[in-house]
């Protein structure tokens, strides 16, 4: 199916442009006009992908996006393991996001660790009518009694909180004082704010700035002696253990990781981060805000990196090392050399099985671009990609460092568009989320969830790349796809949308 072998770039571009025009036909005129701005065919040499982004989703189109609460509780705050995160409002938000993101951690759950638990104020009608502040205060008291080893509390606002005028900041301040300066963080991540998860990331970052950093006593005795090689991992949520398979490489090259944001992270790590000499930033989208803040306030430089696939890992290790002395630079080379044999073996095993296969992606923060290198290490080609909640700076990075000429770009893709694109382009693999997985598998198209690693992982680092390669192979080369067609029926092209 590998189109790249049979079609020229010009042909692909023409086909993709035609495809865009075709999908736009389905919309009412006003919607077509708005959606047209989010779809494009990448032109090599351009500084961005030529699409509008970070704009409101259009009602009724089946956006794949989530909300600000998902960005704050689900992404940024939820993994901080020694704090209790209250889903403040009705029961649903906390229920649907309960332990669903596979942020791995070590700890005694329910005693000193709380990640895979669902704490909620379970709002009832009376809380909406009379306000939930008193209930919130009582919840904090009950937490102190039943979970005495918690190291802090965050209040993750659901939609009603901002609409009914609750003052969660006042409650948090009062309770913090009552409990001897305990860290209690009110977060204004109501789901209706902003246009996607993205604002939730920003609000969550700001809450760490205002309610964690600004509360740290500058005269407090340091919990550890700093070294010239202290770094913090920013924007790795340890999904399937990603942050661990990254941390090990940084430590092997001679750096010392003093904090993980926020996968397997603790309040102590957040508080200690301003002591880092460098912040290394994986998910730029969700944590560039706090990185910029630490640069401005504490003078800590930050460096984006990409730990998907050996090419990008080596490039990233060298870039990170460039901020340090020769000892670390040599360390980076030593690490690259150490894993070379493993990488050669992985590629020798899997590349012949995957060479020339095409991929279409639609994911969240960094993956629509970051994983492209890993696919290319396996000889695969990403022919379409897009961001659920990216901003223009994401599309700039994508255009300048990742995608090839003619790649189909779709921002905040709708269910209809994605199906149409995949139906027509017929990639060998689609990488997206749980809501998309079964749509494409029904069509007989191999699929991997690229948010949760389809319950596998880690995919970061050298150890992770071996798993990534194995998983892509098992998705594409699974015997099941040969059976999708009923043998006694005449072959027909896959059709979509029952309505057509």
């Amino acid at each position: 199916m590998s189109v790249s072998e049979t079609e020229s770039v010009a042909e692909i571009k023409a086909r993709n442009k035609e495809l865009i025009n075709e999908v736009l036909q389905v919309y009412p005129e006003k919607t077509a006009k708005r959606r047209a701005k989010h779809l494009n065919v990448h032109e090599a040499g351009k500084s961005d992908c030529g699409v509008k982004s970070n704009l409101k989703s259009i009602p009724g189109v089946m956006t794949i996006r989530g909300c600000a609460y998902a960005g704050s509780k689900g992404v940024v705050w939820g993994p901080i393991k020694d704090m209790i995160h209250i889903s403040h409002g009705p029961v649903g938000c906390g229920q649907y996001s309960w332990a669903a993101r596979r942020n791995y951690y070590i700890g005694t759950t329910g005693i000193d660790t709380f990640v895979t638990m669902q704490f909620t104020s379970d709002f009832q009608e009376k809380d909406i009518v009379f306000g939930g502040d008193k209930k919130l205060a009582k919840i904090m008291d009950e937490i102190q009694v039943l979970f005495p080893l918690n190291n802090g509390i965050s209040v993750q606002s659901e939609c009603p909180i901002g609409l009914i005028g609750d003052d969660i900041e006042a409650v948090s301040k009062a309770k913090s004082k009552e409990y001897g300066g305990k860290t209690i963080v009110p977060v204004r991540c109501e789901g209706f704010r902003g246009v996607s998860q993205s604002l939730g990331h920003h609000v969550a970052n700001d809450a760490i700035r205002d309610w964690v950093f600004d509360k740290v006593d500058p005269n407090a005795v340091a919990k550890f002696q700093d070294t010239p090689y202290d770094v913090a991992i920013i924007g790795d949520y340890n999904i399937g253990g990603d942050a661990w398979s990254s941390r090990i490489l940084l430590e092997e090259m001679g750096l010392r990781v003093i904090a993980q944001w926020s996968g397997d992270g603790t309040l102590a790590e957040l508080e200690a981060t301003p002591k880092a000499k460098l912040n290394v930033l994986h998910c730029y989208r969700s944590m560039n805000y706090i990185s910029r803040h630490m640069e401005e306030k504490y003078g800590i430089p930050w460096c984006e990196y990409n730990f998907f696939g050996p090419s990008k890992i080596a490039e990233s290790l060298r870039r990170i090392a460039s901020y340090f002395d020769d000892k670390i630079k040599e360390g980076a080379e030593r690490v690259i050399a150490k894993y070379q044999a493993l990488m050669d073996a992985v590629i020798a095993k899997y590349r012949p099985r995957l060479e020339g296969k095409t991929v279409m992606l639609f994911v969240g923060g960094l993956r629509p671009r970051h994983v492209i290198g890993a696919y290319e290490d396996l000889g695969m080609e990403v022919v379409g990609t897009g961001y659920e909640f990216g901003h223009n700076d994401d599309y700039q990075r994508t255009a300048q460092h990742y995608v090839k000429d003619g790649t189909l770009i779709y921002d905040d893709v709708t269910g209809y568009e994605f199906e149409k694109f995949v139906e027509r382009i017929q990639p060998d693999l689609v990488g997206s989320g749980i809501k998309e997985k079964y749509v494409f598998q029904k069509m007989g198209v191999p699929f991997r969830q690229m948010h949760s690693w389809d319950y596998s992982g880690p995919y970061h680092g050298y150890d992770g790349f071996a798993i990534f390669a194995r998983d892509m192979d098992m998705a594409i080369n699974a015997p099941v796809w040969k059976m999708a067609h009923t043998p006694w029926k005449t072959a027909s092209k896959p059709t979509l949308l029952a309505a057509e």
Binding site: P28, T31, P59, G60, T63, I64, G66, A70, D82, P90, V91, C93, Q95, Y96, W98, A99, D112, T116, M117, Q118, T120, S121, E125, K135, I143, L146, C159, P160, L163, I164, G191, F192, G194, K223, F224, W244, V257, L342, A345, T414, G415, G433, K435, Y438, V439, Q441, K442, G444, S456, P458, D463, A466, I467, R470, A484, H485, P494, L497, A498, E500
Partner: protein, 519 residues
């Protein structure tokens, strides 16, 4: 280095290697500012005590690990049971992403649903424009036969009026004037997912029967002999509704299943994505008004729907998710009485086979203690089945169960000698259940996937029955209703019991004597 290309290790094994173990130990010691392990151990033990249980049960405000979801989830569940219907949820868009993910994780199926994507401006000015644009877009793009509108808490808090909004949207040409857009207000801060199911089911029937929001004449009931069937919110809907159809077929009853989502959540992989599949036809939904009677399999999923139906002159009967012999007997006999048919011999045989299976196996279940949690009706069905197996449903807990439900469960306990030492816990959560399992241990726990945390912490083996089940595959394809369904539940319980016996008798030269080949 632990990793190798020939035998790739993922998270299941990778991190157990010495390099990672050392790394994680260093992280903890140097940077996590961990609690004193002795203190952690002390609190861990304290959390198992009656004293902790008392404090835990004294909670008035905090909910920890609830076994319920919000109304809009049930709304979507009900809506997709109708032919070519897309659920349209008016409010914030993140909610819809959550419902779709939740259902896809349980059924391993696509779950189509749209949002009106309300944001801050809609919070200030109301979501009318979102409704107008949203309906037009959904109608053009996905060509549904019906759009079923429900709400999120955001739209409810700001007070959006669905009836007026849909009317205006039609006037603005979003969808044709005579196009079916039933609606229901489904505030997340009232009730639970079972309430949302009820509201949408009622909303859809009201739409078809009572004049389509003032745009058509009300239907005049002309009674026929058909029976309507409503399954309620049910994680086994795929297997159960197919079993129900088989039973109706065997009995020769002309029926309509209202809200049949057994096909849309069990579509084949054959090269085609079916956004819509099966479902109650809109004609059948309308004509269901003429039926002789309506049977609800789950009373607490139809608390508002059944009175509406009764008010149209039908006989109604509600069950509590019947599982097992007596529950199925009552269901079939009621059905036969209402429909005026005889129960065929084939079903008597099936009944006999279930009784036979229970007779064969009950020695292994008799006297065992169980804790159950789940939706109110499911709890009643399971508890009744356990009682007839001679087991004790020691703790029965429903976060979304109310006082009336608790009385019903108590009455069930009182009906059997095996219910003597059993207790019911309405409105409690799984952190309460944790205290119960520590202070009054049982042999087995029955619940959904989240029960695995209780299994880990308390050592109580978990039998996965309920919703959602994310970490085991395909059980939703099996019925738990009817005698065949009872057999499935019996087997699931027995499999766990036998696995546990084997697990506790498999130490060579220590417990060899009970590691039996025949049980």
């Amino acid at each position: 280095m632990t990793q190798n290309a020939e035998n790739v290790l993922d998270h299941l094994e990778l991190f157990r290697g010495p390099e990672y173990q050392q790394m994680l130990a260093n992280k903890r010691a140097l940077f996590e500012d961990p609690r004193d392990p002795a203190e952690v151990e002390r609190v861990r033990e304290w959390a198992k005590t009656p004293e902790y249980r008392e404090k835990n049960f004294a909670r008035e405000a905090l909910t920890v690990n609830p076994a319920k979801a919000c109304q809009p989830l049930g709304a979507v569940f009900a809506a997709v049971g109708f032919e070519g219907t897309i659920p349209f949820v008016h409010g914030s868009q993140g909610c819809v992403a959550y419902y779709r993910s939740h259902f896809s994780r349980h059924f391993k199926e696509p779950s189509s649903c749209v949002s009106s994507s309300m944001t801050e401006d809609a919070a200030v000015f109301g979501g009318l424009n979102n409704m107008i644009d949203g309906l037009a877009n959904t109608y053009s793009m996905y060509k549904p036969k019906m759009i079923a509108v429900s709400t999120t808490c955001m739209a409810e808090v700001i007070g959006d009026d669905l009836n007026a909004f849909i009317k205006t949207a039609k006037e603005k040409g979003s969808v044709p004037a005579d196009y079916d857009v039933p609606f229901a207000h489904t505030p997340a801060f009232v009730g639970s997912h079972v309430t949302g199911y009820d509201n949408v089911m009622k909303g859809i029937l009201e739409h078809f029967w009572d004049g389509k929001a003032g745009t058509a004449p009300k239907l005049e009931r002309q009674p026929n002999g058909k029976i309507n069937f409503i399954g309620g919110f049910d994680g086994y809907t795929v297997g159960n509704l197919r079993e129900i159809k088989r039973l109706f077929g065997l009995m020769g009853i002309d029926y309509t299943i209202l809200g049949d989502n057994s096909d849309v959540w069990d579509t084949p992989t054959d090269g085609e994505f079916r956004m819509y599949d099966g479902g109650t036809t809109l004609t059948d939904a309308a004509e269901a008004v003429h039926a002789k009677a309506t049977i609800s399999m789950q009373e607490y999923c139809t608390e508002k729907t059944l009175p509406l139906i009764a008010a149209h002159g039908q006989e109604v009967a509600a069950f509590n998710h019947p599982i097992g012999v007596a529950g199925t007997d009552k269901f079939l006999m009621t059905l036969a009485r209402i429909a005026g048919v005889e129960i065929p011999e084939a079903l008597a045989l099936e009944r006999g086979r279930l009784v036979d299976a229970i007779a064969d196996s009950s020695a292994h279940i008799h006297g065992k203690k169980f804790a159950i949690y789940g939706d109110p009706d499911l709890c009643l069905g399971l508890a009744a089945f356990l009682l007839e197996l001679g087991a004790e449903p020691t703790h029965v807990l429903a976060t979304n169960g109310n006082k009336a439900w608790a009385e019903k469960v108590q009455a069930l306990f009182d009906s059997s000698p095996f219910g003597k030492n059993c207790h019911v816990y309405p409105g409690k959560d799984l952190w309460h259940m944790r205290s119960l399992l520590f202070t009054e241990p049982v042999d087995f726990l029955i619940g959904n996937t989240y029960g695995k945390y209780l299994e880990r912490d308390t050592g109580t083996p978990l039998i996965r029955i309920g919703f959602p089940i994310f970490d085991r595959h395909h059980h939703h394809r099996y019925p738990v209703w009817g005698y065949q369904g009872g057999l499935n539940v019996l087997v699931w319980i027995l499999d766990k019991i036998f696995d546990e016996i084997d697990k506790s008798t498999n130490v060579p030269s220590k417990t060899d004597y009970s590691f039996d080949i025949i049980r």
